[in-house]
């Protein structure tokens, strides 16, 4: 039996190699599960809990899309990927959506043939040093040894930053964030650099957090967002507007608490369009009218997702900063639902 399946798979592979990305929505519906690529673990962004259930800020995007498309936010098959395997997993069709704190860069968008559907977290690369080093700015780090994760944009930004400032450094390449933190604590490097959100998360769990400071310099733009393959724009639209629905819900004050009440109909037409009581926005996506309502109910609106996973009340303790709504001086902005 196995052998026939295998031979059949080989034949189909030959025939269907050119049709890889046709109709992702239909594939997902037929499968009944969304295959979503996540990290192998970044605190607050994606991590399985003690019961093996994935939790986190990036995970919430996967769950919202699954809720919108399949009506069940648990119908997600999480595929853990590393920095090196994430893009091939998406390109080969092993996953439908990659929500793995991936920086939106031009070459990834254009050359690697992916489509970033938005930004769910605006990050920037920062530096953490022991307070005893007495450094107040990154430009004073001449000759420092720097712990850095390989295969990431931070590695390239670091080289750019030090070259632009005409100072030298010695990189200590490391595979995962937790190993980097351990080496930094052990004094193997003077500086630990990565996205500032990750720095904050790591520092929160240090034995003596006050002995370490995150320098004020932000040396790069790291817009992190979910992405899909080039070539299936319908599927890209669904992912993009699911994310936008979460953002718009926060802007309009739709929360997981009041959504039941609001979906009965309000006097704000945009809320009504969002929640499907007016207009045909869901139909345009090839989904039903309540798609956005389900997405929002899966984990709350953007602000709720932020606060419950990485917000000030959690161990990670990140403030909204750039990730506040545009009305509050941040960059989080969704095109209108019209």
């Amino acid at each position: 039996m196995k052998k026939t399946v295998f031979l059949g798979a080989l034949t189909v592979a030959g025939l269907a190699a050119g049709l890889v990305s046709a109709g992702t929505l239909d594939d997902v519906k037929a499968r009944g599960k969304l295959n979503c690529g996540v990290t192998t673990g970044v605190p607050g962004f994606a991590e399985p809990d003690a019961n093996g259930v994935w939790q986190g800020f990036d995970v919430a995007v996967c769950r919202a899309v699954a809720a919108a498309v399949l009506g069940d936010n648990m119908a997600v098959e999480f595929v853990p990927t590393t920095g090196k395997t994430r893009f091939t997993a998406l390109a080969s069709g092993e996953i439908d959506l990659l929500a793995r704190n991936t920086t939106w860069t031009m070459s990834r968008d254009v050359d690697l043939k992916f489509e970033f559907v938005g930004v769910n977290y605006y990050d920037g690369q920062g530096f953490m040093v022991p307070a005893s080093l007495g450094v107040s700015s990154a430009s004073e780090l001449d000759g420092a040894t720097v712990c850095i994760q390989t295969g990431t944009t931070t590695e390239l930004n670091l080289a750019d930053f030090f070259r632009a400032n005409g100072i030298s450094y010695e990189p200590v390449p490391i595979e995962t964030g937790s190993e980097a933190a351990q080496l930094f604590l052990a004094g193997s490097c003077d500086v630990y650099t990565t996205d500032r959100s990750a720095l904050a998360a790591q520092r929160a769990n240090f034995p003596n957090p006050d002995d370490y400071v995150v320098l004020p310099d932000v040396v790069s733009k790291e817009p992190l967002g979910p992405l899909v393959r080039h070539g299936d724009n319908d599927w890209g639209d669904i992912a993009r507007w699911t994310l936008n629905a979460l953002i718009t819900a926060e802007e309009l004050g739709v929360t997981s608490d009041n959504i039941a009440e609001m979906s009965a109909g309000t006097n704000n037409p945009e809320i009504n369009r969002l929640l499907g009581t007016e207009g045909t926005l869901g139909e345009m996506l090839g989904l039903d009218a309540e798609w956005a309502k389900r997405a929002i109910m899966s984990g709350g609106n953007y602000g709720e997702v932020f606060e419950s996973n990485i917000g000030a009340a959690t161990n990670i303790g990140l403030s909204r900063g750039l990730n506040a709504q545009w009305k509050d001086g941040g960059l989080i902005y969704s095109p209108p639902f019209r």
């Binding site: 196995k2 192998t40 673990g41 093996g52 161990n315």
Partner: protein, 430 residues
């Protein structure tokens, strides 16, 4: 002058041997000979004692002080109040993830546990010749039973595979008697395929027949994954290695060429490259949804890798046999398969056992490399989900100590067995 000479004392029994000087006996002698025989050894001994004492003095309070009941590293630190102590709570909370991976259904943990227990029963008659030979019947059934227990699904799937193999064997035996080895082998393969094809209708019709809850390969993880990869790959690569070793010695240029190229290519490539090929490159050849199982791809790659090494070990065994053994087989009128099966291989494999065990231990430890292709084996679980979780990020020693313990028990066991086996097989009686 009849006085007898005045002999004051005549000794009637020999002087009892006096105890050896204190420096030449017992513990003192052993210490002098083994630890302080000259000044270099004395310095090394003192240094070793210093470092061992330092490690014990540092680690014992840390272990003893350990906290077992908290739910995060932060709480551990609060309980310890700055004193040195381990945070064993992470093991209490996550031991099941380290052993079984984080997605294997909790209510089904008994299945891999039972499979592991039965594994010991299965390999016992293979490892120890003195055990009753009919236990080998169970060893033959075991692979199918293990597949059913771990992956679940209907019992019919492994039964059909087993039946097809039996049919293939029977066909092979019948045809070999009539026409010879090659046609026998061909008939056997045809019989296997035929029974598999017919059986696939039966399994499709009765998917619920004595079925366990199916578990996808993707959900396997932890130490269980290391054990699965280790046992499956070693047991598959030994027959493959034998074939390759014989092929490399063959007189037929094409077969010899294929085997040499295969062995030298695989040995010239790092295992980690092969794993990346299995994970990344192979998935380009399959359309989405029909992906060959990742575990299956990895098993294929590791098996090919270790088969190349085992082939070279066995070739060493074949080369060690005197030429006369080959000639004796020929002069008995045996054909090539018979000569190999009855005369050459039994002796060559016996010589190769230590080498094969060596490859097996190395391979078992190499299975942790799958963590780099985001499979959550024991090391992958530690590096990924556990040490990156909000509650436990920043914890290292406790997790890796458990990993060390688990691997040490298995590898030391294998190594002790191979030493025992060498003593058993020694033919040069002194």
């Amino acid at each position: 002058m009849s006085d007898t000479p005045n002999i004051g004392f005549v000794r009637h029994e020999p002087i009892p041997p006096s105890a050896p000087p204190i420096q030449q006996a017992g513990v003192v002698k052993w210490i002098r000979e083994n630890l302080f025989s000259n000044w270099i050894n004395s310095i090394l001994t003192i240094l070793s004692i210093y470092f061992v004492a330092k490690i014990i003095l540092a680690s014992t309070p840390w272990m003893w002080n350990g906290v077992w009941t908290t739910s995060s590293l932060r709480e551990c630190r609060e309980v310890l109040q700055g004193t040195s102590g381990a945070c064993w709570s992470v093991l209490v909370e996550r031991w099941n993830q380290m052993l079984f991976g984080f997605k294997y259904p909790v209510e089904a943990y008994w299945r891999p546990t039972l499979t592991f227990g039965l594994l010991l029963v299965c390999i016992a008659p293979i490892l120890f010749q003195k055990l009753p030979r009919n236990m080998l019947m169970f060893s033959a059934i075991y692979p199918f039973l293990a597949f059913w227990l771990i992956w679940g699904g209907t019992l019919l799937t492994p039964v059909v595979v087993a039946l097809s193999l039996i049919a293939g064997y029977l066909a092979f035996v019948k045809m070999e008697r009539l026409t010879g080895f090659a046609t026998g082998l061909l008939t056997g393969v045809v019989a296997v395929a035929l029974v598999l094809y017919l059986g696939s209708f039966v399994t499709a019709a009765l998917p619920e027949f004595i079925a366990l809850e199916p578990v996808a390969s993707r959900d396997m993880g932890g130490f269980m994954l290391n054990l699965i990869l280790g046992t499956v790959c070693v047991s598959l690569s030994i027959p493959l290695g034998v074939v390759l070793a014989l092929g490399r010695q063959s007189n037929m240029p094409i077969i010899k060429g294929i085997c040499v190229v295969f062995i030298e290519f695989i040995r010239g490539v790092p295992l980690i490259t092969l794993l990346f090929v299995a994970n990344v490159v192979l998935s380009y050849f399959f359309p989405p949804g029909t992906n060959l199982d990742l575990i299956l791809r990895v098993i294929i790659m590791i098996t090919l890798f270790s088969a190349a090494y085992i082939a070279e070990v066995i070739r060493g065994g074949l080369a060690a046999l005197p030429r006369g053994q080959y000639e004796a087989a020929d002069s008995l009128g045996l054909d090539y398969p018979q000569a190999m099966r009855l005369i050459i291989l039994p002796q060559a494999l016996k010589i190769s056992i230590p080498g094969i065990v060596n490859v097996a231990v190395g391979l078992f430890k190499d299975t942790t490399l799958v963590s780099v292709i985001s499979m959550f084996d024991l090391v992958g679980m530690i590096r990924g989900p556990i040490s990156s979780s909000t509650a436990w990020t920043g914890i290292y020693w406790e997790l890796y100590l458990l990993a060390i313990l688990l691997f040490f028990v298995v590898c030391y066991g294998i190594s002790q067995y191979s030493q025992w086996l060498e003593r058993q097989l020694r033919t040069d009686h002194h």
